[in-house]
Symmetry: C3
Subunit: 319 residues, 3 copies
C-alpha cells in the first residue's frame, strides 16, 4: 500500500515534469499578470492615455523574468519578442483585460473561484521558470551556485524585481520601495525555490529533479490558495525569518550604532560624526516615506511585519 | 512622358539609396541634436557647471539610437565610441554650439533658413538609421517582425526613448513623462518608418527598398519643413490616430471602469476595491504632474491632444 | 649612486607590478568600501530593515567597477559572482562591519592609523583595476583610445559612477547629483589614470608599464594619505582645472547666453525664447537642489569649488 503510494507519487512527479506550460498555464500566467497590472493605482488611467505604454508595461509583467535574466547573462533583452506566439497570446489577453467591451473578461476572471484556479496555474509556471533560469545559468557557469540562484530568482520573480522600472514606463516613480528593501511573498518563495533547485542542480540535495519539482509546486500552489482563501497574509516563514534575523542581524543594535555617545570612541577623522546625525533624520524621513519601522519589538523581524501589512498589495503586485 | 517621369523617379531613388550620410548629413544631425539639447531648460547651466556631463549628454543625443539598439541586442553600448571620426566630429560641434565665443555658431545655426536645411538633412539620416536598425535585427533574427520593428525604432528614435536617463546625466528627473506615455511627432514617425521597413524587409510590402526609402524620406522631410514653417503642430496622423483610438481602446469607458458601482460586481477578494480609490486619486495627481488629461472629448485621442499642446517642445526635444 | 637609485626604482617597479592583490589588498578594498557605505546617511537603518538590500548595496560598492565595465562591454554583469572566493570574502567583511557584536570591527577599522593603512592599500588596488580595464578594452578594441579610457575609468571608479542606482537599492534617489555633474576626487584621479594607461597602452607615452604603475600608485597613495591626515581637500589639480576651465569653457559667458537681450538676434522660430526663461528658473532651483553655484568668480572653476565644499563627503562616498 505504502509502496504503491510512493510509486504513484513517482509517476505523478514524472507526469508533472513532462507537463507542457504552453498554452494553458502560460495563458493563466498572462491573465493573472495583466490583471495584477490593471489593479495597480493609475494603471487604468494609463491604459486610456497611452495604450502603447500600457502594452509595454503588460509585457514587462508577463516576460519581466526573461528580460531581467537575459540582461544579467548579457543576452539580448529583445529575445522574448522573437517568440511571436507567446507575445501575440499575451497581447490578446492584455487587450481583453483592459479594453473588452463591458469589461467582461476582467469581471469574469476576477470571480474568486476562477481567479483561484488561474493563480494556482500561474504558480505552477513559477517552478518551470525558476528551473529554466537555474539550468540556463548552469549551462553557462558550471560550478557557480551564486549565479544559478541569481538567474533562477531573476527568471522566476523578474516582474517584481524590475518593478521600479516597469512603473517608470507608466510614469510612476517610487524610489523609496523595491523588492530588495521589502520582499513580497512571491519574491521570497521564488528565492527559496531558486536556492533549492540550484542546490539540486549541483547535487547538494538528495532529491531527484522531478521529485523536487513536485514538492515545490505543490507547496507554492497550496500556500497561494490558502492565502487567497483565508485572506491571511502570515508568511509560512515568518517564524524562521524572525529567528534568523534575531540571531544574525542584531549584533549591534541600531540604537547603539546610532547614538553618538557609543559612536564617540570610533570617531577619529570626524567623518562618522558628520554623517551620524543626518543618518538619524534620514531614517525618520525614510520611515515616513517607505512606511517601514525600526524593529522595536525584538520578537519579530521587520520583513515579516511589513509582509503582514502589505500582503494584500504584494499578492496583486507580483502575482 | 509619364514613363519618363517614372524612370526619373526610379533613378532618383537609386541615387538617394546610394547617398552617403558621412560627413555632411551626419554633421547636420549632430548640429540639430546638440542645439536641441542646448534648448532644454537648464542645459546651458549644466554646460557651465560640468562640461563633461554636458558632453556626455550631447553624445547621448547624437548616438542615443546606436546605444539603445546596442543594449537591446546585447552588443557593447560603447561601440559608438569606436568610430573615432564621428565622435570627434560630434564633439567639435558640441564644443562650438555651447562654447563658441560670442555664441556665433549657435546664433548662425538658429537662423530659420539654415535651421530648416539642417533639420531637413537630419530627417534624411533618420531613414538610414531606421533601415540600419531593421537590417541589423534581420541579420540576427531572420523572421521576427517585432524585433525588426523594435530595433529599427530604437535606432531611429533612441535619443527620445532614453530621454529619462539622458536627463538624469544632467541632474534632471521627470518620471511622470516619457516617450511611451506621450509620443512626440519624431518618435511616432520613426515607429511608422520602422514598421514599413520591417514589412518591406519581410517582403510583406510590394515595394522595392530604394523606392520605399525615397517615399519615406520625402514624406518626413516635407512634413518636418511644413511644421517648422507654419509652426503648426497638427500631426498628419491626428485623424487616423483618433479613429483607431476610438475604435479599439474605448471598449470600457474609463469612467465605467473607475466607478465603484460598476466595479462592485467584479469584487470578490476585495482587492480591486482597495486599489480603485487610490487609482482615482493617483490619476488626478498624475494629471497635474504630467499635464495630461482624461479623454473627455470622445472626438479626439489624448495623444493627439497632447501632441498639439507640446509639439513646440517635442520638435526641439527629439529633433 | 644615481644609477643605483634608478636600478633600485626599476626593481621596485617590477616588484610592484608582480604584486598580487589577492587577498590582502582586496580585503582592504572591501573593508574601506563597506565602511564608506555604512557611513552613508540611512545605510545603518537599511542594514536593520533589509540585510539583503544592504548586502547587495555592499557588493555594488565592492564590485561596482566590474559590473559597470561588464555592462559597457556587453559581458554578463553577474560575472563577478562567479568568483566565489572574492564574493565570500566581501560578504564576510560586510557582515562584520555591519553586524559584528559591540560594533568591534567597525570601531577598530575606523581608528585613524588603521584606516589610513587600509585606504592606502585600497588606492593600490585602483591602479590594478584601471590597468585591468584598459587591457580588457585593448584586447577587444585594438585601436580605440576612447573605449580604453572609458572602460578603464568605469572599472576603477565604477562604484561612484553607478552611485545613483546603488542608492536606489537602498531606497534613496538623488537625481540632482551624480559623479559626472560634480566629480569627486577619486573619480577624477581614476579618469586621469585611465587616460595615462590608455596612452601608455597605445605607445603614446614614453613610459614602460611597470614604471607608470609605480609613479601612479605612489602618487595616489601619497595624495590620499595627505588628504586624510590634513583633512584638507584642495585637489592637486585645482589650478590646472580652473585654468583649463577658464580657457575652454567660458567662450560665451552664461549671462550673455541667458539674457534675452543677447539672445534676441538668435530667435527665429521663437523656440529659444520659450525655453530661455524656464532655463533661468530651472537653474536657480537646480542650484538650490544640487547645491551648485554659477561660476561667478572667474578665478576658479566650479568643480574645484564644489570639490572643496564636499570633499569630506566625497572621500567617504567613493573611497
Amino acid at each position: 500500500m505504502d509502496v504503491l503510494g510512493l510509486l504513484y507519487l513517482d509517476e505523478l512527479s514524472h507526469g508533472l515534469a513532462n507537463l507542457s506550460m504552453f498554452p494553458y498555464f502560460d495563458m493563466a500566467h498572462y491573465v493573472v499578470s495583466v490583471m495584477a497590472l490593471r489593479e495597480q493605482p493609475g494603471a487604468l488611467e494609463v491604459s486610456r492615455v497611452s495604450p502603447l505604454a500600457c502594452w509595454f508595461s503588460s509585457m514587462l509583467y508577463c516576460f519581466g523574468g526573461a528580460v531581467l535574466s537575459g540582461v544579467m547573462l548579457a543576452e539580448p533583452p529583445v529575445a522574448p519578442l522573437t517568440n511571436s506566439t507567446s507575445v501575440l497570446l499575451a497581447s490578446i489577453i492584455w487587450y481583453l483585460v483592459f479594453y473588452c467591451p463591458m469589461d467582461l473578461v476582467y469581471c469574469c476572471a476576477a470571480v474568486l473561484p476562477l481567479r483561484l484556479v488561474l493563480s494556482g496555474m500561474k504558480e505552477v509556471t513559477r517552478t518551470w521558470k525558476v528551473l529554466g533560469g537555474v539550468t540556463q545559468a548552469h549551462s553557462k557557469y558550471k560550478d557557480s551556485l551564486l549565479v544559478m540562484i541569481a538567474i533562477g530568482w531573476a527568471r522566476g520573480a523578474g516582474g517584481g524585481l524590475i518593478s521600479n522600472f516597469e512603473q517608470l514606463v507608466r510614469g510612476v516613480w517610487k524610489p523609496e520601495t523595491n523588492e530588495l528593501l521589502k520582499m513580497s511573498y512571491p519574491t521570497k518563495i521564488t528565492l527559496i525555490g531558486a536556492v533549492l533547485f540550484a542546490l539540486q542542480q549541483s547535487h547538494y540535495l538528495p532529491f531527484q529533479k522531478h521529485h523536487l519539482m513536485l514538492i515545490y509546486t505543490v507547496f507554492i500552489v497550496v500556500n497561494k490558495s490558502r492565502m487567497m482563501l483565508t485572506g491571511s497574509s502570515t508568511s509560512p516563514f515568518a517564524t524562521i525569518e524572525s529567528a534568523i534575523y534575531k540571531t544574525l542581524f542584531t549584533g549591534s543594535s541600531p540604537y547603539a550604532a546610532l547614538t553618538d555617545e557609543v559612536k564617540k570612541p570610533c570617531i577619529d577623522n570626524g567623518t562618522t560624526n558628520k554623517t551620524s546625525s543626518p543618518a538619524r533624520t534620514k531614517e525618520s524621513s525614510e520611515n515616513r516615506a517607505a512606511g517601514t519601522h525600526t524593529p522595536v519589538s525584538p520578537v519579530r523581524g521587520p520583513n515579516e511585519a511589513k509582509e503582514e501589512s502589505e500582503n494584500s498589495i504584494n499578492c496583486k503586485k507580483t502575482d
